[in-house]
Amino acid sequence: MKSQKSMAWVLLLVLPLGLAGIWRLQHSIDGQRGTLSQERDDILLRSGKLMKLMSLEYAPLMADIYWTRVVQYYGNKHSQGKTNLELLWPLLDITTTLDPKLLVAYRFGAVFLAQAAPAGAGRPDLAVELIKRGIEANPDYWRLYEDLGFVYYFDLKDYQKASEAFLEGSKRPNAQVWMKVMAANIAAEGESFSTSFFLWRDIYESASDPSVRKNALMQLQLLKAKEECRQLDALADEYQKRNGKRPTRMAELIQAGLLRGVPKDPAGFVYVFGEYGKAELNVDSPLLEQQLLMERYKK
């Protein structure tokens, strides 16, 4: 009918115009709301147990929803460069109470709760609590012991307990052989480059969460850079012994035959000697910023 056709034409006109309007409006509304800085992080219920009661038989589903909130929360804070991760613990707490078998949540929590800012919440105590709960619910999963040892080793510097955790983990089914080696190494020498490097590499290789992997990769690069600086310092000492003065440029080490090529950090930037004659990261290297951030928060 005629009237129907004209209606359809009206729709063809109204839809694109309307959608264009909606597109623009949504952008300006987002802008407007952005200025309001409504803290939408608030968690209404901090009690995981109550939450579990309220989610009826759908607790695992709720756990998944909370898990995505954990990831988003961390991702948002990280991308905005904010360092207060105070909600990370309650979110993880609720998530793992809702579904105690959600392994990824424990592993994620172990890394980011324990690590100092800016990467983590700087609460290794809570990380230990979380992992211990995880071990209780999943006693046969050896990687949780690895994570426990990891937190003791890196963040609490308690090598005794770290060694015990690795040893305990090595007894679990399917545990990899190096767990036992790790226990022995840490018991014997405490913190060492090779142990640290191995642990981070294992995290990097075994984790599936992209932010965990990214963080591990950065840690590996920093570790490597630190180790390389240490070796360069040793070479500089050698140079000083031979020539009576510290080198100021890498080229001097090469001329002296101590180095074969220009030494570069994992990000591809040449190392330099600082004002005290110690090897350092190049000012242009992105790793330097990370290193400074980590040192600042350590204090």
Binding site: M1, K2, S3, Q4
Partner: protein
Amino acid sequence: MPGSAIEIENLTKEYPFGFLHLRKKTSLEGLNMQVETGEVFGFIGPNGAGKSTTIKLLMGLIFPTAGNARILGKPISDVEMHRDIGYLPEQPYFYDYLTAAEVLDYFARFHDLTAADRKERVQRMLKKVGLETAGKIQLRKYSKGMLQRVGLAQAILHDPKLVILDEPMSGLDPVGRREVRDIILELKRDGKTVMFSTHILSDAEVLCDRVGVIVGGKLRGVGAPGQMVDMKTQGMEIVFELPAGSNAPLLSKVTKMGERYRLQVPEEELYAAIEQLRGAGARIHSVTQVKATLEEFFMNLVEADRAQAAAVEVNGK
């Protein structure tokens, strides 16, 4: 006659059905028909013949697959045409949270009437359809017959030039049917055009100037009720009693019903038969016309249809 009130041209309606609507049922096939101004037109056919489909197409409730129609000279898609027509749907139903007076007032509002005019008309209509005492009761408490009366009232409320009634007699008791007949005749006296559908032949015969017969979605004939061959009288029926022992003539043709006898003769032999009965001392109780029953009348058409091709049966509802 100033032209036709309704002109229908090749009106066709197919309903898709089945998986993905791939198959089609034809419920109305190429209908061509006119309803002249000022006449009462009866649209008759068995259930599912396409009567309601036609009326709904005219009212713009459903849309034709092909063909078109004009009402009062305007195409049916023209909403202004609805000012001058009244419509009673089949088995009407109205907002059951309203009273009869409220529902009529609501409908009257669409016709640009003043408040006082609306009030007066609503009262007049309620009286006309015999609901003046029930006007303040919510429609959820109404019986089917009472709803039918409300439906009739809303159809004629705004003094339309053309009234289309879909099965106006259904759901009514004999008194109600009589009242509807009177209303239709009154509309005719006032010069209105009335088209109504029914599956009850006697209603059509009493009221209509012309009838259209539709079976299986096809129009089978249009004309004055008496002209329709199958509606002609088939004969006369005489019911009588015989004194004990007397030997009745024509006894071979008689059926006995208790004390009484029933005899059917062709119309032209009626007087001869009565003479014979009187001779035998019979007491005559009644003489009535015998017509084809509705079923016989339509079944003949339907069977003819089946003989031609697979019958198309679509419920127009």
